[in-house]
Symmetry: C2
Subunit: 191 residues, 2 copies
DNA sequence: GTCTCGCTAGATCGATCAATCTAGTCGCTA
DNA sequence: TAGCGACTAGATTGATCGATCTAGCGAGAC
Protein backbone atom coordinates (compact mmCIF):
# COMPACT_ATOMS: atom_id res chain seq x y z
CA UNK A 1 0.00 0.00 0.00
CA UNK A 2 2.03 2.97 -1.29
CA UNK A 3 0.28 6.29 -0.66
CA UNK A 4 -3.06 6.67 -2.45
CA UNK A 5 -6.38 6.30 -0.60
CA UNK A 6 -6.46 2.54 -0.32
CA UNK A 7 -9.42 0.29 -0.87
CA UNK A 8 -10.24 -0.08 2.80
CA UNK A 9 -10.51 3.69 3.21
CA UNK A 10 -12.64 4.08 0.10
CA UNK A 11 -14.98 1.38 1.41
CA UNK A 12 -15.41 3.11 4.77
CA UNK A 13 -15.91 6.49 3.10
CA UNK A 14 -18.61 5.25 0.77
CA UNK A 15 -20.29 3.24 3.52
CA UNK A 16 -20.28 6.11 6.00
CA UNK A 17 -21.72 8.50 3.44
CA UNK A 18 -24.50 6.17 2.39
CA UNK A 19 -25.37 4.91 5.86
CA UNK A 20 -25.61 8.47 7.20
CA UNK A 21 -27.90 9.71 4.44
CA UNK A 22 -29.94 6.74 3.34
CA UNK A 23 -29.64 4.55 6.40
CA UNK A 24 -27.87 1.32 7.20
CA UNK A 25 -30.52 -1.19 6.18
CA UNK A 26 -31.50 0.71 3.05
CA UNK A 27 -27.93 0.75 1.74
CA UNK A 28 -26.85 -2.39 -0.05
CA UNK A 29 -23.25 -3.55 0.06
CA UNK A 30 -23.33 -3.59 -3.72
CA UNK A 31 -23.96 0.15 -3.78
CA UNK A 32 -21.02 0.71 -1.45
CA UNK A 33 -18.85 -1.51 -3.65
CA UNK A 34 -19.88 0.35 -6.77
CA UNK A 35 -19.19 3.78 -5.24
CA UNK A 36 -15.79 2.80 -3.92
CA UNK A 37 -14.79 0.95 -7.10
CA UNK A 38 -14.01 -2.20 -5.15
CA UNK A 39 -14.92 -5.84 -5.76
CA UNK A 40 -16.68 -8.16 -3.34
CA UNK A 41 -13.43 -9.84 -2.45
CA UNK A 42 -11.94 -6.68 -1.01
CA UNK A 43 -14.91 -6.02 1.24
CA UNK A 44 -14.79 -9.44 2.88
CA UNK A 45 -11.01 -9.37 3.05
CA UNK A 46 -10.96 -6.10 5.01
CA UNK A 47 -14.20 -6.71 6.89
CA UNK A 48 -14.57 -10.43 7.56
CA UNK A 49 -17.77 -9.80 9.50
CA UNK A 50 -19.39 -8.34 6.38
CA UNK A 51 -21.84 -5.47 6.43
CA UNK A 52 -21.97 -5.26 10.23
CA UNK A 53 -18.19 -4.89 10.48
CA UNK A 54 -18.37 -2.18 7.85
CA UNK A 55 -21.07 -0.50 9.89
CA UNK A 56 -18.87 -0.46 12.99
CA UNK A 57 -16.01 1.02 10.97
CA UNK A 58 -18.32 3.67 9.51
CA UNK A 59 -19.53 4.61 12.99
CA UNK A 60 -15.98 4.85 14.28
CA UNK A 61 -15.00 6.99 11.33
CA UNK A 62 -17.93 9.32 11.97
CA UNK A 63 -17.14 9.33 15.65
CA UNK A 64 -13.61 10.60 15.06
CA UNK A 65 -14.76 13.23 12.59
CA UNK A 66 -17.31 14.67 14.95
CA UNK A 67 -14.93 14.44 17.91
CA UNK A 68 -12.46 16.64 16.06
CA UNK A 69 -15.22 19.08 15.19
CA UNK A 70 -16.36 19.25 18.82
CA UNK A 71 -12.79 19.80 19.99
CA UNK A 72 -12.40 22.57 17.45
CA UNK A 73 -15.30 24.44 19.01
CA UNK A 74 -14.84 23.69 22.71
CA UNK A 75 -11.11 23.32 23.31
CA UNK A 76 -10.54 27.02 22.65
CA UNK A 77 -10.77 28.45 26.16
CA UNK A 78 -10.26 32.01 24.93
CA UNK A 79 -13.72 32.06 23.41
CA UNK A 80 -16.54 32.48 25.94
CA UNK A 81 -18.52 29.32 26.58
CA UNK A 82 -21.84 30.62 25.34
CA UNK A 83 -20.20 31.77 22.12
CA UNK A 84 -18.71 28.29 21.65
CA UNK A 85 -22.15 26.74 22.04
CA UNK A 86 -23.82 29.24 19.75
CA UNK A 87 -21.19 28.67 17.06
CA UNK A 88 -21.50 24.89 17.45
CA UNK A 89 -25.22 24.99 16.70
CA UNK A 90 -24.91 27.64 13.99
CA UNK A 91 -22.20 25.59 12.32
CA UNK A 92 -24.52 22.59 12.35
CA UNK A 93 -27.26 24.68 10.77
CA UNK A 94 -24.87 25.84 8.05
CA UNK A 95 -23.87 22.27 7.31
CA UNK A 96 -27.50 21.24 6.91
CA UNK A 97 -28.20 24.10 4.54
CA UNK A 98 -25.06 23.42 2.54
CA UNK A 99 -25.96 19.75 2.05
CA UNK A 100 -29.70 20.32 1.47
CA UNK A 101 -30.52 18.69 4.83
CA UNK A 102 -28.73 15.45 3.97
CA UNK A 103 -25.61 15.52 6.16
CA UNK A 104 -26.20 16.02 9.83
CA UNK A 105 -24.78 13.80 12.57
CA UNK A 106 -22.59 11.11 11.00
CA UNK A 107 -23.92 8.36 13.26
CA UNK A 108 -27.45 9.35 14.32
CA UNK A 109 -29.34 7.61 11.53
CA UNK A 110 -27.41 4.36 11.96
CA UNK A 111 -27.64 4.49 15.74
CA UNK A 112 -31.40 4.81 15.65
CA UNK A 113 -31.75 1.90 13.27
CA UNK A 114 -29.58 -0.63 15.04
CA UNK A 115 -30.00 0.34 18.71
CA UNK A 116 -32.24 -2.66 19.29
CA UNK A 117 -30.78 -5.12 16.83
CA UNK A 118 -26.97 -5.00 16.56
CA UNK A 119 -24.95 -5.03 19.79
CA UNK A 120 -21.56 -4.30 18.22
CA UNK A 121 -22.76 -1.27 16.29
CA UNK A 122 -24.81 -0.04 19.22
CA UNK A 123 -21.75 -0.19 21.46
CA UNK A 124 -19.65 1.68 18.90
CA UNK A 125 -22.26 4.42 18.71
CA UNK A 126 -22.41 4.58 22.50
CA UNK A 127 -18.64 5.06 22.69
CA UNK A 128 -18.92 7.84 20.12
CA UNK A 129 -21.46 9.79 22.15
CA UNK A 130 -19.43 9.34 25.32
CA UNK A 131 -16.26 10.65 23.66
CA UNK A 132 -18.04 13.77 22.42
CA UNK A 133 -19.66 14.39 25.79
CA UNK A 134 -16.28 14.13 27.50
CA UNK A 135 -14.91 17.04 25.46
CA UNK A 136 -17.73 19.40 26.42
CA UNK A 137 -17.79 18.15 30.00
CA UNK A 138 -14.07 18.92 30.36
CA UNK A 139 -14.59 22.41 29.02
CA UNK A 140 -17.46 23.04 31.46
CA UNK A 141 -15.28 21.78 34.30
CA UNK A 142 -12.59 24.25 33.23
CA UNK A 143 -15.20 26.99 33.59
CA UNK A 144 -15.47 26.09 37.25
CA UNK A 145 -18.76 24.30 36.94
CA UNK A 146 -19.18 21.42 39.38
CA UNK A 147 -18.58 17.90 38.18
CA UNK A 148 -22.21 16.78 38.27
CA UNK A 149 -23.56 19.89 36.60
CA UNK A 150 -20.87 19.79 33.93
CA UNK A 151 -21.77 16.23 33.07
CA UNK A 152 -25.48 17.01 33.00
CA UNK A 153 -25.04 20.06 30.75
CA UNK A 154 -22.74 18.17 28.38
CA UNK A 155 -25.22 15.31 28.03
CA UNK A 156 -28.00 17.82 27.58
CA UNK A 157 -26.09 19.59 24.82
CA UNK A 158 -25.79 16.44 22.71
CA UNK A 159 -29.40 15.47 23.37
CA UNK A 160 -30.35 18.93 22.14
CA UNK A 161 -28.29 18.83 18.97
CA UNK A 162 -29.19 15.25 18.04
CA UNK A 163 -32.87 15.95 18.48
CA UNK A 164 -32.51 19.20 16.61
CA UNK A 165 -30.83 17.37 13.72
CA UNK A 166 -33.76 14.98 13.50
CA UNK A 167 -36.41 17.70 13.61
CA UNK A 168 -34.46 19.89 11.21
CA UNK A 169 -34.02 17.14 8.61
CA UNK A 170 -37.66 16.14 8.98
CA UNK A 171 -39.13 19.63 8.72
CA UNK A 172 -36.42 20.93 6.39
CA UNK A 173 -35.83 23.92 8.65
CA UNK A 174 -32.95 25.16 10.78
CA UNK A 175 -35.33 26.48 13.42
CA UNK A 176 -34.85 23.46 15.70
CA UNK A 177 -31.08 23.96 15.73
CA UNK A 178 -31.42 27.61 16.68
CA UNK A 179 -34.00 26.87 19.37
CA UNK A 180 -31.98 23.99 20.79
CA UNK A 181 -28.77 26.01 20.90
CA UNK A 182 -30.49 28.89 22.65
CA UNK A 183 -32.00 26.45 25.12
CA UNK A 184 -28.66 24.92 26.02
CA UNK A 185 -27.17 28.34 26.67
CA UNK A 186 -30.18 29.38 28.76
CA UNK A 187 -29.82 26.23 30.87
CA UNK A 188 -26.18 26.91 31.79
CA UNK A 189 -25.67 27.54 35.50
CA UNK A 190 -25.42 31.23 36.33
CA UNK A 191 -21.82 32.38 36.59
CA UNK B 1 -66.42 -0.73 7.28
CA UNK B 2 -68.56 -1.74 10.29
CA UNK B 3 -66.75 -1.72 13.68
CA UNK B 4 -64.33 -4.55 14.61
CA UNK B 5 -60.51 -4.24 14.55
CA UNK B 6 -60.22 -4.97 10.86
CA UNK B 7 -57.31 -6.06 8.75
CA UNK B 8 -56.28 -2.54 7.95
CA UNK B 9 -55.82 -1.73 11.64
CA UNK B 10 -53.85 -4.90 12.28
CA UNK B 11 -51.56 -4.05 9.38
CA UNK B 12 -50.86 -0.55 10.70
CA UNK B 13 -50.29 -1.87 14.23
CA UNK B 14 -47.77 -4.47 13.13
CA UNK B 15 -46.06 -2.05 10.77
CA UNK B 16 -45.80 0.72 13.35
CA UNK B 17 -44.38 -1.64 15.95
CA UNK B 18 -41.77 -3.09 13.62
CA UNK B 19 -40.79 0.17 11.94
CA UNK B 20 -40.30 1.85 15.32
CA UNK B 21 -38.08 -0.87 16.75
CA UNK B 22 -36.25 -2.40 13.81
CA UNK B 23 -36.52 0.43 11.34
CA UNK B 24 -38.41 0.98 8.12
CA UNK B 25 -35.94 -0.45 5.62
CA UNK B 26 -35.03 -3.41 7.81
CA UNK B 27 -38.65 -4.50 8.15
CA UNK B 28 -39.99 -6.58 5.28
CA UNK B 29 -43.62 -6.39 4.30
CA UNK B 30 -43.73 -10.17 4.69
CA UNK B 31 -42.92 -9.84 8.39
CA UNK B 32 -45.71 -7.29 8.80
CA UNK B 33 -48.09 -9.59 6.91
CA UNK B 34 -47.12 -12.54 9.08
CA UNK B 35 -47.59 -10.63 12.34
CA UNK B 36 -50.95 -9.22 11.35
CA UNK B 37 -52.19 -12.52 9.90
CA UNK B 38 -53.01 -10.89 6.61
CA UNK B 39 -52.29 -11.93 3.03
CA UNK B 40 -50.53 -9.89 0.38
CA UNK B 41 -53.82 -9.04 -1.26
CA UNK B 42 -55.09 -7.16 1.78
CA UNK B 43 -52.00 -5.02 2.05
CA UNK B 44 -52.18 -3.78 -1.52
CA UNK B 45 -55.93 -3.39 -1.32
CA UNK B 46 -55.75 -1.08 1.71
CA UNK B 47 -52.45 0.55 0.76
CA UNK B 48 -52.21 0.78 -3.03
CA UNK B 49 -48.90 2.57 -2.73
CA UNK B 50 -47.37 -0.43 -1.00
CA UNK B 51 -44.80 -0.18 1.73
CA UNK B 52 -44.46 3.59 1.51
CA UNK B 53 -48.21 4.09 2.02
CA UNK B 54 -48.04 1.75 4.99
CA UNK B 55 -45.16 3.82 6.33
CA UNK B 56 -47.19 7.02 6.12
CA UNK B 57 -50.07 5.33 7.94
CA UNK B 58 -47.70 4.04 10.63
CA UNK B 59 -46.27 7.52 11.13
CA UNK B 60 -49.75 9.03 11.38
CA UNK B 61 -50.76 6.37 13.88
CA UNK B 62 -47.68 7.07 15.98
CA UNK B 63 -48.27 10.78 15.64
CA UNK B 64 -51.76 10.52 17.13
CA UNK B 65 -50.60 8.28 19.97
CA UNK B 66 -47.86 10.64 21.02
CA UNK B 67 -50.10 13.67 20.59
CA UNK B 68 -52.54 12.21 23.09
CA UNK B 69 -49.69 11.44 25.47
CA UNK B 70 -48.39 14.98 25.20
CA UNK B 71 -51.86 16.41 25.80
CA UNK B 72 -52.23 14.18 28.85
CA UNK B 73 -49.15 15.79 30.38
CA UNK B 74 -49.48 19.39 29.28
CA UNK B 75 -53.20 20.15 29.01
CA UNK B 76 -53.60 19.91 32.78
CA UNK B 77 -53.13 23.53 33.83
CA UNK B 78 -53.51 22.71 37.51
CA UNK B 79 -50.13 21.01 37.57
CA UNK B 80 -47.17 23.43 37.59
CA UNK B 81 -45.33 23.63 34.29
CA UNK B 82 -42.00 22.36 35.57
CA UNK B 83 -43.74 19.36 37.11
CA UNK B 84 -45.43 18.61 33.79
CA UNK B 85 -42.07 18.67 32.03
CA UNK B 86 -40.39 16.57 34.69
CA UNK B 87 -43.15 13.96 34.52
CA UNK B 88 -43.03 13.97 30.72
CA UNK B 89 -39.34 13.04 30.73
CA UNK B 90 -39.64 10.63 33.67
CA UNK B 91 -42.53 8.91 31.94
CA UNK B 92 -40.38 8.50 28.85
CA UNK B 93 -37.61 7.00 30.97
CA UNK B 94 -40.05 4.55 32.53
CA UNK B 95 -41.27 3.49 29.10
CA UNK B 96 -37.73 2.81 27.94
CA UNK B 97 -36.99 0.71 31.01
CA UNK B 98 -40.25 -1.18 30.69
CA UNK B 99 -39.56 -2.09 27.06
CA UNK B 100 -35.85 -2.81 27.49
CA UNK B 101 -34.96 0.31 25.47
CA UNK B 102 -36.95 -0.78 22.44
CA UNK B 103 -39.96 1.56 22.42
CA UNK B 104 -39.16 5.24 22.50
CA UNK B 105 -40.56 7.80 20.07
CA UNK B 106 -42.97 6.08 17.67
CA UNK B 107 -41.68 7.95 14.63
CA UNK B 108 -38.06 8.92 15.33
CA UNK B 109 -36.40 5.86 13.82
CA UNK B 110 -38.48 6.04 10.64
CA UNK B 111 -38.06 9.80 10.36
CA UNK B 112 -34.28 9.55 10.50
CA UNK B 113 -34.20 6.87 7.84
CA UNK B 114 -36.43 8.47 5.26
CA UNK B 115 -35.78 12.19 5.80
CA UNK B 116 -33.66 12.35 2.66
CA UNK B 117 -35.36 9.70 0.55
CA UNK B 118 -39.18 9.66 0.86
CA UNK B 119 -41.03 12.97 0.59
CA UNK B 120 -44.45 11.67 1.63
CA UNK B 121 -43.20 10.00 4.79
CA UNK B 122 -40.95 12.94 5.61
CA UNK B 123 -43.90 15.32 5.36
CA UNK B 124 -46.01 13.09 7.59
CA UNK B 125 -43.28 13.04 10.21
CA UNK B 126 -42.92 16.80 9.96
CA UNK B 127 -46.65 17.26 10.57
CA UNK B 128 -46.36 14.98 13.60
CA UNK B 129 -43.64 17.06 15.21
CA UNK B 130 -45.53 20.27 14.53
CA UNK B 131 -48.69 18.91 16.14
CA UNK B 132 -46.82 17.93 19.29
CA UNK B 133 -45.02 21.25 19.49
CA UNK B 134 -48.33 23.10 19.19
CA UNK B 135 -49.63 21.44 22.38
CA UNK B 136 -46.65 22.49 24.49
CA UNK B 137 -46.50 25.90 22.86
CA UNK B 138 -50.13 26.54 23.76
CA UNK B 139 -49.50 25.55 27.37
CA UNK B 140 -46.49 27.88 27.58
CA UNK B 141 -48.59 30.69 26.14
CA UNK B 142 -51.20 30.03 28.83
CA UNK B 143 -48.43 30.52 31.38
CA UNK B 144 -48.02 34.05 30.11
CA UNK B 145 -44.85 33.39 28.18
CA UNK B 146 -44.47 35.50 25.06
CA UNK B 147 -45.31 33.98 21.71
CA UNK B 148 -41.73 33.75 20.41
CA UNK B 149 -40.33 32.35 23.62
CA UNK B 150 -43.13 29.82 23.94
CA UNK B 151 -42.47 28.56 20.44
CA UNK B 152 -38.73 28.36 21.06
CA UNK B 153 -39.12 26.48 24.34
CA UNK B 154 -41.62 24.04 22.84
CA UNK B 155 -39.32 23.27 19.91
CA UNK B 156 -36.43 22.95 22.33
CA UNK B 157 -38.37 20.48 24.46
CA UNK B 158 -38.94 18.09 21.58
CA UNK B 159 -35.37 18.44 20.37
CA UNK B 160 -34.29 17.53 23.89
CA UNK B 161 -36.51 14.49 24.22
CA UNK B 162 -35.83 13.16 20.73
CA UNK B 163 -32.09 13.46 21.21
CA UNK B 164 -32.38 11.96 24.66
CA UNK B 165 -34.29 8.99 23.22
CA UNK B 166 -31.49 8.37 20.74
CA UNK B 167 -28.70 8.62 23.32
CA UNK B 168 -30.66 6.57 25.83
CA UNK B 169 -31.35 3.73 23.40
CA UNK B 170 -27.77 3.80 22.18
CA UNK B 171 -26.13 3.84 25.61
CA UNK B 172 -28.87 1.80 27.29
CA UNK B 173 -29.19 4.38 30.05
CA UNK B 174 -31.91 6.78 31.18
CA UNK B 175 -29.34 9.42 32.10
CA UNK B 176 -29.87 11.39 28.86
CA UNK B 177 -33.61 11.67 29.55
CA UNK B 178 -33.03 12.98 33.05
CA UNK B 179 -30.35 15.44 31.91
CA UNK B 180 -32.46 16.64 28.99
CA UNK B 181 -35.54 17.11 31.13
CA UNK B 182 -33.61 19.09 33.74
CA UNK B 183 -32.12 21.20 30.96
CA UNK B 184 -35.49 22.11 29.49
CA UNK B 185 -36.76 23.18 32.92
CA UNK B 186 -33.61 25.22 33.58
CA UNK B 187 -34.03 27.00 30.25
CA UNK B 188 -37.59 28.17 30.99
CA UNK B 189 -37.88 31.95 31.25
CA UNK B 190 -37.88 33.16 34.85
CA UNK B 191 -41.38 33.74 36.15
C1' DG C 1 13.93 -17.79 -9.74
C1' DT C 2 10.02 -19.17 -7.33
C1' DC C 3 7.35 -19.18 -3.28
C1' DT C 4 4.37 -16.87 -0.27
C1' DC C 5 0.90 -13.90 0.97
C1' DG C 6 -1.90 -9.59 1.05
C1' DC C 7 -5.12 -8.15 -1.81
C1' DT C 8 -8.04 -7.71 -6.00
C1' DA C 9 -11.53 -9.61 -9.00
C1' DG C 10 -16.17 -10.99 -9.98
C1' DA C 11 -19.10 -15.11 -10.95
C1' DT C 12 -22.35 -17.32 -8.35
C1' DC C 13 -25.33 -18.83 -4.49
C1' DG C 14 -29.71 -19.33 -1.93
C1' DA C 15 -32.59 -16.26 0.47
C1' DT C 16 -35.47 -12.59 0.61
C1' DC C 17 -37.17 -8.32 -1.25
C1' DA C 18 -41.54 -5.53 -2.78
C1' DA C 19 -44.98 -6.05 -5.88
C1' DT C 20 -48.32 -8.19 -9.22
C1' DC C 21 -51.44 -11.62 -10.51
C1' DT C 22 -55.58 -14.58 -10.70
C1' DA C 23 -58.94 -16.68 -7.96
C1' DG C 24 -62.18 -16.94 -4.55
C1' DT C 25 -65.26 -15.45 -0.46
C1' DC C 26 -68.59 -12.67 1.65
C1' DG C 27 -72.33 -9.40 2.29
C1' DC C 28 -75.33 -6.27 0.21
C1' DT C 29 -78.71 -4.71 -3.27
C1' DA C 30 -82.17 -5.38 -6.57
C1' DT D 1 -81.31 -15.52 -7.08
C1' DA D 2 -78.36 -13.04 -9.69
C1' DG D 3 -74.91 -9.55 -9.76
C1' DC D 4 -71.52 -6.45 -7.84
C1' DG D 5 -68.05 -4.43 -5.10
C1' DA D 6 -65.16 -4.92 -0.95
C1' DC D 7 -62.03 -7.71 0.74
C1' DT D 8 -59.24 -12.05 1.48
C1' DA D 9 -55.99 -15.44 -0.17
C1' DG D 10 -51.47 -16.82 -1.59
C1' DA D 11 -48.73 -18.42 -5.65
C1' DT D 12 -45.55 -16.24 -8.40
C1' DT D 13 -42.31 -12.82 -10.44
C1' DG D 14 -38.03 -10.52 -11.35
C1' DA D 15 -34.90 -7.94 -8.84
C1' DT D 16 -31.78 -7.48 -5.28
C1' DC D 17 -30.04 -8.93 -0.89
C1' DG D 18 -25.56 -10.33 1.80
C1' DA D 19 -22.25 -13.78 1.52
C1' DT D 20 -19.15 -17.41 -0.38
C1' DC D 21 -16.32 -19.18 -3.77
C1' DT D 22 -12.26 -19.95 -6.81
C1' DA D 23 -8.88 -17.61 -9.42
C1' DG D 24 -5.29 -14.56 -10.21
C1' DC D 25 -2.27 -10.44 -9.56
C1' DG D 26 1.99 -8.36 -7.79
C1' DA D 27 5.61 -7.33 -4.60
C1' DG D 28 8.83 -8.84 -1.13
C1' DA D 29 11.47 -12.93 0.94
C1' DC D 30 15.10 -16.04 0.49
Amino acid sequence: MPDAPPTRERLIDAAARNFRRRGYAATGVKAVLRESHAPYGSLYHHFPGGKSDLGVAAIERGSEEYLELTQMYFDDDDTPLDVCIERFFLGAADLLIATDFEDACPIATIAGEIASTDAAMRAAAGRAFESWIAVVEARLAREGITRDTARRCAVQLFCAIEGAFLLARTTRSTEPLLAAGAGVIAALPAT
